[in-house]
Symmetry: C2
Subunit: 473 residues, 2 copies
């Protein structure tokens, strides 16, 4: 199998392995447009499944989809000072429309807080107009210098929720509610364990009071920030002059949140679950749960293939049949590259004893089932695969989380052991920066449920916080 | 009802009526970004329903969704000469990324033919790679000078299919297949009768061999081009140097199509079906099929409301309950503005005789049903509404299609009767232009199923074609 031979071993060169997998599994392709990628049908189908599950959760919790403009006039971007500082250096500017030069340049939205605020200012007048729970699915642009498929790209497909609330409590509850919807989705559907927590002041979103993130650990021990939920307080709302008449007949400024996840989650799927044979997709998110590979040109094989597909249709299990003119070996290898949760091999020899071989992608285990039972076994098998993938990822991640109480301990781990380090911190940005400068490790998020016994791992002064540190994509 | 009073009569000022309806029904709102609109939750929910139905049809016919870059480098746009001539004057140009000026300016895609061609050149090598049946849902930008919600906007939400085929026959068949998928969708789901046909050379898409369009007539007799399907021959493919090794071992150039529909279809829904009370939505596309309005604060009303909603849930019929602290009259009027196909009034007085009032939005007819039967009647009622809306639209349209055999006849109709004119044409662009210049009427499309008896309606020379003419949005 030339394709498999061409996949770099992930333990040898993880970056090359990643590029091989995204390309050979048919997830993305490169375009002639620098910094922009093409999302191929298989990659896009994964994104559609993510959208479907999340969109349902958003709607169940009362959110409505809207579509805002994709351009932001410079003067609008400039209204919130912290925000513009954070984003202006990395936006694309439209300066010409048709043959005319624009009087004011427009940036292609890097995120849409200011567009939503501009709209909310217009439509929020009374407590009766609150909460506003809006979301949009769209593409944003950030002018990145170096790009990698799904992880860092000039164009990003994402969703961004933007909500406004009458009270601080309600807005904070919304921030955490959406954080936990993401967490459940990533755990249950993507089979990716995530650490959720508050970002430090230095790492929070430009303009936010508090940013919460979902931190996943990739196979190589490097962190991927896999979604964020921000509480804005009334900062943006005040800058934009948004006010509502409350029940007590006084004018108040509403409280705001925003939250988003992107196609980056596809990168996480690859880097958490993939192996040297290619992609491994959890059944809950796989566009095709079963790849059927009929072996040989026998009537019996055809009859059984028809029987199996008709049962899969009845049960609503997604499948494809690989009946191309290729060897079974080629097809098995390709099914592995594509990461279909299960492949079913239907061959004349097995059928002599009325059996069919099912191969799990996660363990590569081969299981023989009687023809009449195979489809009945699948739902349970999918559950097992889903659970096994999560457990395996959790185990690997936990085995790569270390604890450092002194600078020496921190240095030793940071130098030689990939993964996350738990450590105490005084809260001073100088200490946070030292870790970043020496080891390229950023604070991931605060740990709020563990007691602080020791002092700051950097300066030795009294610690105020406990943190995860890690290198990041 | 202040909202209703504020809707201009459609017979008095159709343009003002349209603006009132899109705004008061909560479909769109204006933004501070010139030329870009905000699609509000209700408008976006209609678009999501359109997407859902069409996307399923695309997938059933073997198409796959992808996502291409949103930027096109100028050199790439320049490759196909006709195409660039058609689009370059109306694109938005990105000239700065972050703090640097770009070496080559990038346009925000006005359509993606060249991006798909650039990609197809890379992935099409053999007849085995064909056909390629790709589609994408995205936003495009055209730098329009004057804009109107849904009809003409700088940003347009749409889908664009781009396919490549080994033979001319297959590509032509695809062009027509997609045209007819659009036609069925508009007839059956939007309840909009459409005339489908080929555009003249003058009116075809920049770079196409043949363009087919769906021409709908609005209430005011003005045409709306409500979707197009293009056959490109091998023009783009040759310009881009796309070649494949065919079965006969020779290198050939593939044949191409593209096809698209946009949120403009929402504009058509409004202008075909709406009335002086607001929007009227066909049940097949309405985000909320039933608005329930409980009247008064009685136990019985609450019990029956619960019973009805539980039955609606079981049957999977979408509904909302308007239990706000407003008068029934206000709620009825708002339900009419929003165009819900059916409203159910649950009031204590009706319940005394165990009845419920159902009001059809299309006819405003009030029907009383026994409580136990009301939900059972709904599916048939929806079918009737859907059919009635189509029939009514068809009747109005047909009553506004005229036939002109001489220039005098044409002039008389064009001056005094809004609608379409069927006429014969010699095929000379001078004659087509004369109609455009004198009456602002463009050729809509060729009529291929009617015989040509008379001469060109403009010059009197021998006619080659029969055409629809009409003013357009």
């Amino acid at each position: 199998m030339s394709e498999i031979k061409d996949i770099t071993s992930r333990d040898k060169d993880f970056a090359a392995w990643y590029t091989d997998v995204v390309k050979k599994a048919g997830l993305v392709d490169y375009s002639s447009v620098k910094g922009s990628m093409i999302i191929c049908p298989y990659g896009y189908a994964i994104w559609e499944n993510m959208q479907k599950i999340l969109d349902e959760k958003f709607k169940e919790t009362g959110h409505e989809n809207v579509q805002m403009p994709m351009f932001i006039p410079e003067s609008l971007l400039n209204i919130e000072k912290e925000h513009v500082k954070g984003f202006a250096p990395e936006v694309a500017w439209v300066t010409q429309g048709g043959s005319e030069c624009l009087e004011e340049r427009l940036c292609v939205r890097p995120t849409s807080e200011v567009l939503f605020c501009d709209y909310y200012k217009k439509i929020i007048k009374s407590y009766r107009d609150l909460p506003k729970l809006y979301n949009q699915w769209c593409t944003i642009v950030r002018w990145e210098k170096t790009t990698r498929p799904f992880l860092r790209s000039r164009e990003i497909l994402w969703q961004e929720g933007h909500t406004m609330h009458a009270t601080e409590e309600e807005a904070i509850a919304e921030t955490l509610r959406m954080l936990h919807i993401y967490e459940d989705f990533q755990r249950n559907d993507l089979a990716i364990p995530v650490i959720v927590g508050k970002k430090t002041e230095k790492e929070k979103f430009a303009g936010a009071v508090a940013s919460y993130s979902l931190e996943a650990m990739m196979y190589d021990g490097v962190a991927l920030q896999n979604g964020t939920s921000h509480y804005f307080g009334d900062g943006f709302a005040a800058s934009f002059g948004i006010q509502f008449l409350d029940k007590d007949n006084t004018l108040k400024t509403p409280y705001q949140t925003s939250w988003g996840v992107t196609t980056r989650m596809i990168g996480a799927l690859i880097m958490v679950h993939g192996d040297d044979r290619g992609l491994v997709l959890p059944p809950n998110i796989a566009p095709t749960k079963v790849m059927i590979i009929p072996i040989g040109d026998h009537d019996k094989v055809r009859t059984v293939t028809d029987k199996i597909t008709s049962e899969l249709n009845t049960k609503g299990i997604s499948y494809q049949i690989d009946d191309r003119d290729k060897t079974p070996g080629f097809k098995f290898a390709e099914a592995e590259i594509k990461g279909y949760p299960v492949r079913i091999e239907i061959g004349a020899r097995d059928l002599e004893s009325d059996e069919i071989t099912v191969v799990r992608r996660d363990t590569l285990e081969k299981i023989k089932y009687p023809v009449s039972e195979v489809v009945d076994h699948l739902p349970e098998l999918f559950e097992n695969i889903q659970k096994n993938m999560y457990d395996k990822a959790l185990q690997r991640r936990d085995s790569m989380i270390y604890e450092a109480n002194t600078w020496d301990e921190f240095t030793n781990i940071a130098k030689y052991k990939p993964g996350f380090i738990k450590a105490n911190w005084c809260g001073d940005e100088t200490c946070e920066n030292k870790i970043k400068d020496e080891f390229s490790m950023k604070s991931r998020c605060l740990i709020e449920d563990e007691e602080i016994h020791t002092n700051c791992v950097v300066c030795g002064k009294k610690a105020k916080y406990r943190l995860y540190f890690g290198r990041q994509y």
